[in-house]
Symmetry: C2
Subunit: 358 residues, 2 copies
């Protein structure tokens, strides 16, 4: 997509490399291993924007003293089926994993369980978390606030909300999972970048300048977004006529679920840490249905969608295809990113161990 | 919107009229009053498609022996924070209200509570239910399957999923509520109808014929949708390029949450009753946060959205404006609908009591 040649690297080695960097930065061993697993699984799923490449942002946040790598997430409020976790200004991955585990335990007791996380940072792609719950036969929904304001309120011209993603997963018969993982913006920032790199114009309605005028030059649009001089439309586009009020509504829903219970930041807040909030809900179908009934329903539903419809792409399918390819052939890392990783290893005082496959 | 002159009727009288019809159809008094309240509140909120006009569909379903007006919803599976309700093939309103009440009780005990409803029918607009929970200081999320297949799987050409709406509400300081209530299709069926009535062309990507070709003639598009000869795109449009995979994913999420726990119907199922499924989740913020903290967060969030942005329309705002108008000036009922209501009253053997205001 970005035109760079990218050599492939074995997932186990990428994991080892990430662990080495995180430990050098002071992250406890268990958290480092778990965080590296989320990041590598995200790269394996083809979501390059949220995998090992994120080390660049994490290094920057750490150097600005905004990110505490040694944080240990802890439960600060606890109800039978709901809890609040304080991530201690650490990375979101250990807190997110802790939240999913807690919610699973509560769902086993109560039928459902939810956890809100506050005082957190970036936690990678949500797909990994909800899929891991679905792999245990559970249904999971997750949401998170994000750090960069890019989406305007519908009718507004100020970038204020993040891309505020939501994810959902449910088990299927035979071990597969239905996985939905999506930003509530019209497209992800990466898609604007991809249009810019391939020299294509954006459809009007994706990106507007601060006067509310559409920007179709993709390179200009991307630059406006990264400098907060433009806005990315919510899912549905920039007007209510095309459904933009729905994406805006979803974004507000994500913001409230993720942040309002845990004291996480409002949009545009200017605190010491990003103070992101996450929300996870786990439903244990076995609490109310015969074992396997829900997975069978999901399986039948998915079959219905693809019956006589060869062109249907199910949510999560592109990621499953990438996973099959990359587990076998390795994770592609472009030379530019490798160069950044060399610098990160050097500054962290740990060896760069990545060597290309083949 | 539909060009018909519409005289106004007092909400109390509309309520009385609906109760009379529902009782004549055999609905128990309490359920009839509660159902009428949901329907009238929906008309007051300006959602004419889901209020008193629905009596036409309910009469049809009843005459086909698909709808049991005397059904009493009952809990069939019960876990501490989760339950399944069987609506007994009755109208969705009593079952939906029962589910919200149950979920509120569970949330008071456990922090959160959820209820899945099966064997149900149309329950009106979701906004009423989630708003009523938010009026008690609670955060609520709700979803439902719908009866008419109109949305295709992304990349497919068969109408298979309903408009599968989702709704969310959260309390604000001082008694207002943030309310999101949206179908997961690109637009509601009503918007296509409104375009047809005003003679405007649809944007390409909203409605496709069974070969996958865009249909922009709104009258033709509406007719294709009602005969299952066309498909309505999911939110985001008919391609993944514009985000259609997100709307498709949301629609599947709604389908699973609403139907997979309660044994409600798969899409295209051909049973005796519609066998719709609903899902409601209630979060009690007081279980994990100081009283008022969540409402204050929501209030601050809403203020941020509108700060220096005169053109921003918040989700739920058009409904609040309609409510203010109609509570004072009455509910507009076009002559065509009045004529239908006269027929319904006649066939039910109850008096038509509606008399226009002023």
């Amino acid at each position: 997509m970005n035109g760079e040649e990218a050599r492939r690297f074995d997932a186990v080695q990428v994991h080892e490399q990430i662990v080495a960097v995180l430990r050098a930065w002071g992250m406890p061993d268990g958290s480092a291993a778990a965080t590296a697993t989320v990041m590598v699984e995200t790269d394996l799923a083809g979501i390059d924007s949220h995998g090992v490449s994120m080390l660049m942002l994490y290094e920057k946040l750490r150097s600005e003293n905004r990110l505490r790598l040694d944080a240990v997430p802890r439960v600060v409020r606890d109800a039978p089926a709901f809890a609040v976790v304080d991530a201690g200004a650490g990375l979101g991955h250990p807190a997110g994993l802790h939240a999913v585990e807690l919610a699973i335990g509560k769902a086993a007791e109560s039928g459902i369980g939810a956890v809100a996380v506050g005082n957190s940072h970036h936690l990678g792609a949500l797909g990994y978390y909800v899929r891991s719950a679905a792999q245990h036969g559970l249904v999971a929904l997750m949401a998170t606030t994000t750090r960069t304001p890019v989406v305007a309120a519908l009718g507004g011209t100020t970038p204020i909300l993040g891309t505020n993603p939501i994810a959902f997963a449910a088990p299927r018969v035979g071990g597969g999972e239905l996985v939905v993982d999506m930003s509530t913006s019209v497209v992800a920032m990466n898609k604007v970048k991809a249009y810019a790199l391939s020299g294509r114009d954006l459809p009007p309605g994706w990106v507007n300048d601060r006067l509310g005028n559409p920007v179709t030059d993709a390179a200009l649009a991307y630059s406006l977004l990264t400098t907060q001089e433009g806005t990315l439309s919510p899912l549905g586009g920039s007007t209510a006529e095309t459904g933009g009020h729905k994406g805006f509504g979803l974004s507000l829903m994500v913001q409230v679920l993720s942040a309002a219970f845990s004291g996480a930041a409002l949009p545009l807040a200017d605190g010491d840490s990003d103070n992101l909030g996450h929300f996870v809900l786990v439903v244990d179908p076995r609490s109310v249905a015969a074992d396997g009934d829900t997975a069978r329903y999901v399986d039948d539903l998915v079959r219905l969608m693809t019956r006589d419809e060869p062109d249907v792409v199910l949510p999560g399918e592109p990621e499953a295809l990438a996973r099959a390819d990359r587990s076998h052939n390795g994770i592609p890392i472009p030379e530019g990113l490798l160069e950044h990783l060399r610098g990160i290893c050097g500054r962290a005082g740990t060896a760069m161990i990545l060597t290309p496959l083949g």
